[in-house]
Symmetry: C2
Subunit: 144 residues, 2 copies
Amino acid sequence: MSGAARAVETLDRAGYRLTAPRRAVAELVAAQEGHFTAAELVADARARRLSIGRATIFRALDTFAALGLVERVDLPDGEHAYVACDPVHHHHVICTVCGRSLDIEDMGLGSILGDVGRRLGFRITSHRLELFGVCSACDRPATT
Amino acid sequence: MSGAARAVETLDRAGYRLTAPRRAVAELVAAQEGHFTAAELVADARARRLSIGRATIFRALDTFAALGLVERVDLPDGEHAYVACDPVHHHHVICTVCGRSLDIEDMGLGSILGDVGRRLGFRITSHRLELFGVCSACDRPATT
DNA sequence: ACTCCAGTTGATACTCTGTCTCATGTGACT
DNA sequence: AGTCACATGAGACAGAGTATCAACTGGAGT
């Protein structure tokens, strides 16, 4: 099932209307490789001659984020970006060269967090872990 | 040594000029409890009748961040904030109620990252871990 | 197929954050 | 005290994201 189709189904199941603009944004998101910003989606939509309002794209991204279809990530330079992903808790490894991202599962982090919380007297409610690096493809210097 | 004094010394050692505005911003930062945004510093400066330009505050924060005197954090709502901290690699535990933050050391995260990198073929170059929760003081419901 | 209406949209104005420019000011070194 | 490169302040500017509101439309009901 394509990413766009799953997004549409998720929207439907959550009681949202399946409007043309939302379908279009779902397509745009599914077509992205790696992370993307709201501005990039807007530019992309315009490039494809889709007449979707800027506000609508922001709203659709908000909705998608609420449903876990995309996730907001903060790049090292402070930019707000999104990545398409599965709606379960996980973390991202983001290639700073090509922008592609991989999902990784929790990997022992949960127990560490429990530990920290207990030690500091904090009730940890959420966390954010983002890894930045260079993927194997980009690390191979121009093996063309 | 007060936070402001240390900041000034660090600036000096790094070859920056010790100007009145920078000293003032260092004071403002040292006076903050928990995280703060650039806008809050600007408002704070105005409240204290310090005539520091907005641009200067942004510039000072950039400089401080480069020196590791403050660190940028991204709050769960996407807001960009800063916390005063020590210039060594560490992570923050941020109380979502009072805004105070604690520094925590690496805690086995390094080895996890090495693991992940090896498994995925990524060369991890940087990471960001932020924990959000409720500190013990705020968790005690109004034991006044 | 037709109607209806709440949810949605697009245009636009607006706020807020952060950056840039440039003339003026001022640390710090001599 | 004089000098000059670095730093500042004011204001213009650009971009992200939000608010407003009239017009539109998906989809449920008939």
